[in-house]
Amino acid sequence: MVIVRPADATPAMLQTAIRNVVGEANVRTGKVKLDIPPLVENGNTVPMTVSVTSPMTADEYVKSIHVFNEKNPQPNIGNFYLGPRAGRAQVSTRIRLADSQKVTAIARLSDDTFWSATADVVVTLAACTEEAI
C-alpha cells in the first residue's frame, strides 16, 4: 500500500489545515473521487462533487469529508459530516477558487483511517479577492 502525505510540497497553511483534521494519522490516496472541471472559466462558482467508495453500513461508513485548497486566502473549503444512514457517501457543492491550484478532498472513515484525492484546476478568471467593488 502506498502511503502518501498529501500536504508535502504544498503551502504550510494547507498542511496545517489538513493536520488539524487528521492529526497524526496517515492520509492514503484512494477510495475518494473528486469530480471538478480541470479547466474553469469563472473561479467564482466551480461545481465540485466528492464521492467515497464505502458500503455505508452501520459497521463501515464515511464519517466526514473535508475539502481543502492550496492558494485561496484560507485553506479550508468545507467540512461535510455524514453517517451510516447517508446510504451513499457523496456530496456536491459549488466553490470559489482564487487561482489555478490543487484541490484536495479527504474522507474520514468509520475506522478512523483517512483517504484522499487531489485534482488540479486551471482557473482563467479568478474569484475576486482583490478587485475593488
Binding site: N44, T45, V46, N69, N72, P73, Q74, N76, I77, G78, N79, F80, Y81, L82, G83, R85, A86, G87, R88, A89, Q90, V91, S92, T93, R94, I95, R96, L97, A127, C128, T129, E130, E131, A132, I133
Partner: protein, 106 residues
C-alpha cells in the same frame, strides 16, 4: 429576503437512498474584498448547514468563504419512515434560516 430552494422527493420506498438538493440565497461575502476606498468589506457568510430528519441529524456541513455565493449543497440519505426534513442555515451577522420538506415512505 433570504430564500431557500429544497428538492426532496415527495415519495420513496422504504430503504431507498434519496438525493437532497438545497440552495440558500446568500451573498457569501468572503471578507477578502475591498471597496474602492480601500476598506475591507466585512465577512458575511453562512458558516453552518444542518439537515435533520424527524429530529435526528442526518447531514451537517461547515462552510468557509471558499463556498460560492448562494450555497448549493446536495447529499444523500436513507429513508426508513415517513417524516419531515428540517434544514437550518446559520452564519455571520446573526444569519439564521430554516426550511422544511416532507416525504411519504411506502
Amino acid at each position: 429576503m433570504p430564500s431557500a430552494l429544497i428538492n426532496v422527493p415527495k415519495k420513496a420506498k422504504r430503504g431507498d437512498v434519496i438525493e437532497i438538493k438545497t440552495l440558500m440565497s446568500h451573498i457569501m461575502e468572503t471578507g477578502y474584498r475591498h471597496t474602492a476606498s480601500g476598506d475591507v468589506v466585512p465577512r458575511d457568510i453562512i458558516t453552518s448547514f444542518t439537515c435533520r430528519f424527524n429530529g435526528a441529524e442526518v447531514f451537517r456541513a461547515d462552510l468557509y468563504p471558499a463556498i460560492a455565493a448562494n450555497p448549493f449543497i446536495t447529499f444523500f440519505t436513507t429513508v426508513t419512515e415517513s417524516g419531515k426534513f428540517e434544514f437550518e442555515w446559520s452564519g455571520d451577522k446573526g444569519f439564521s434560516e430554516t426550511a422544511q420538506a416532507s416525504i411519504t415512505v411506502e
